[in-house]
Symmetry: C2
Subunit: 327 residues, 2 copies
Amino acid sequence: MSARRETPAELAGRVRAGETRALARAISLVEDGAPEAEELVRLLFPATGRAHVVGFTGSPGVGKSTLVSALVGLARSEGLSAGVISVDPTSPFTRGALLGDRIRLSEHFLDPGVFIRSMGTRGHAGGLAEATLQAALVLDASGKDVVFLETVGAGQNEVGILSIADTVVLVLMPGSGDSVQALKAGIMEIPDLVAINKRDHPLAAATRADIRQTLALGGGEPPPIVLTEAIRGDGVEDLWRAIAEHRARLEPGGKLAERRARNLAAEVYAVAAARARRHLENAVQDDPELTRLLDEVRRRALDPLSAVHEILRKVFHIDDEDDSDAH
Amino acid sequence: MSARRETPAELAGRVRAGETRALARAISLVEDGAPEAEELVRLLFPATGRAHVVGFTGSPGVGKSTLVSALVGLARSEGLSAGVISVDPTSPFTRGALLGDRIRLSEHFLDPGVFIRSMGTRGHAGGLAEATLQAALVLDASGKDVVFLETVGAGQNEVGILSIADTVVLVLMPGSGDSVQALKAGIMEIPDLVAINKRDHPLAAATRADIRQTLALGGGEPPPIVLTEAIRGDGVEDLWRAIAEHRARLEPGGKLAERRARNLAAEVYAVAAARARRHLENAVQDDPELTRLLDEVRRRALDPLSAVHEILRKVFHIDDEDDSDAH
């Protein structure tokens, strides 16, 4: 009961002191998109920037959660505390399969040095990007040494989710042909590290050769590739070392600070754009005149781009013709 | 020379008369993001709504272009004219591989009943969504019976590109494990039809069984699955028939009109949101005060969400706190 009356400042104090219960409450506020969450993060922000934020992306079923769970174990064995945020885009059916995967992480549920939360798509005018950013900042401010972010992705939808990460790991498995093709075609961003999980698979070596060749085409130093078998823990120490080495390579010459500055700016853009879009949709729904514009488009009485101009003028008070030349 | 002085109204007239040269010029205007393109589309819009717009999505390398090329051949053999727009998201390297794939389409280059254009990411404040929408409308107004849209995707990035389509075909190949997993996890939208290309592959039957099982979980009538071997043309007639049947199923009871109304509204939102984002980025770059906000975030003196609020207030004159409760 009393917890409900706690002010954001009080909660922030307890989060910074590393109290697990305060952390749980703070992340819940963030996850629910509660108004207090923003003030809380505002208060905590100056205390952030200490944690190593490691992002994991890859198709469903490649073993990301198992891998993260094993890495959490290694971090703990070195005396480091860890936070995990599993970001779960909409999954209308077979939600159970994903949750089943997450069960791997439950071995750490009783460890007070580990905080784990799955995030769905509810709430948040700024969408998952905003919720993930806030949760990562809260974990960072609470003193967690490593923050693992995990999301399902194919190189594009995790924009804004993983853009806060210091190190991005792409997890593949033998037979991840689509992802390899996407890397080849340049529609997937080059990660900092590649983990090929399920290395006992007969196609593992071929997949590694294929990936290595693909990454070599990108120019510059290609990202390291690590073979793992997360369930048994094989290769996980190599991956953990590669993650630490990536951060170590960033430290000198202010490269880490530079990357973080870029990351934060990208987050601001992603969250602002998501909020602008939400505002636009709400405005059109609430305004009979704008709804009428959409009706006219549907009747082919008004063309879509004229409707766009009209909507942007009314909702954002901008004359977007000015931007047309700006490419 | 004289073509340069042609007014949009004159060009629109020639497009509607089905002149190939006018069509080429119109699509070039659209592709370059030329200011006249908007007026042109405005003039052509009332003449649209006749073509069957069929969208194709799938990972790079599954054979989308080969399949589309074979379908164009079938359409032509029935006396139908066809337009093809291949949408190519950024591909920094191995661009050649994609172009190589597109070469399949070149067999139709000399046929005046077929118009083919590849679209990149240049120009357009509204991005590829806007360019594709405009190009599809131009082809529709020019009298093309079928308009094929083709884009590389994993179920999310083609939003706004394929949302104009009456029929969406997901192209997979045996070994497209990532796409099947993405369907299962619900992060890829359920298409109207699935084509499994390269059906001679030993894993083709297993892939079909896997897809069938996955789609059955979605509830409702699962989309038809067609096995093809595009290079030899095997199964392409079945796919063509399935595409026609999908449209025929939409016709009665105004379902097609309903879907198109929804599609057009989705396009308006996608284009408006893309333009709003572009405007936001330009505004921040051009305004020293907003750039300073980003700097403060980088120095952790100002938290990211406060910066977002400030930017939205200044750029769009909105107080986005109002939206926070609207979820």
